[in-house]
Subunit: 121 residues, 2 copies
């Protein structure tokens, strides 16, 4: 069994509410607190845990860990252990995870265009 | 600093929860429970409250009301009262709200392509 399969099967029933099976589930999953920003930071390539923690302003240890586990459980992120440096673990978007890029990009376009308008009128 | 980074870093802590000013706020706002699906249903044109209620399977009265108020507060939806039929009220996306369409479309593309994979492999 691949690492990915293993991580998907390890999901608990309560994770099912937030699945990516539907439009509904996907948009709510990606919109969960910190989720979008974590995916955004991984779009540039694999990152170590502490790199994500320092790059994402104000995220807590607990929530970063939790979100990374959820991303793994959905097959959007895999945890890679280096064969050379055994303690080096990196988080990387899977192909499925990388395909979230157009969603992230569309949000960025909207924000760039409208972000300030949408609150101050 | 790239433009993309700038828009992400410009958020202030108090705005994070609901505003659309930042990437963070926008993706979380659109991903709130039922929010995306309401916007999706309004993309086809103005709708009356009861139409939305019957089209969106399982949404509660309370949450539909709450989300429409939040969309109005962000300038994404306006409530139109017909001049002819005074009791006819419709909810309509503003220009700002209509510009969320590419985000919704990107989610739909991902779901169509990957929705089933993301859980069943």
């Amino acid at each position: 069994m691949s690492e990915r399969e293993e991580s998907i099967q390890s999901e608990s029933p309560e994770n099912r509410v937030t699945t990516c099976e539907s439009f509904h589930g996907t948009i709510e999953f990606i919109g969960k607190r910190w989720m979008g920003i974590i995916v955004y930071h991984l779009l540039n390539g694999p990152k170590r845990y502490h790199e994500l923690l320092s790059e994402i302003d104000s995220i807590s240890d607990r929530l970063l860990t939790e979100r990374l586990k959820e991303l793994e459980a959905q097959g959007l992120v895999i945890k890679k252990v280096s064969k050379i440096e055994l303690r080096k673990v990196e988080y990387e978007l899977t192909e499925l995870g990388s395909e979230l890029e157009p969603i992230i990009a569309a949000v960025l376009v909207w924000v760039k265009r409208n972000g300030c308008k949408a609150y101050k009128r």
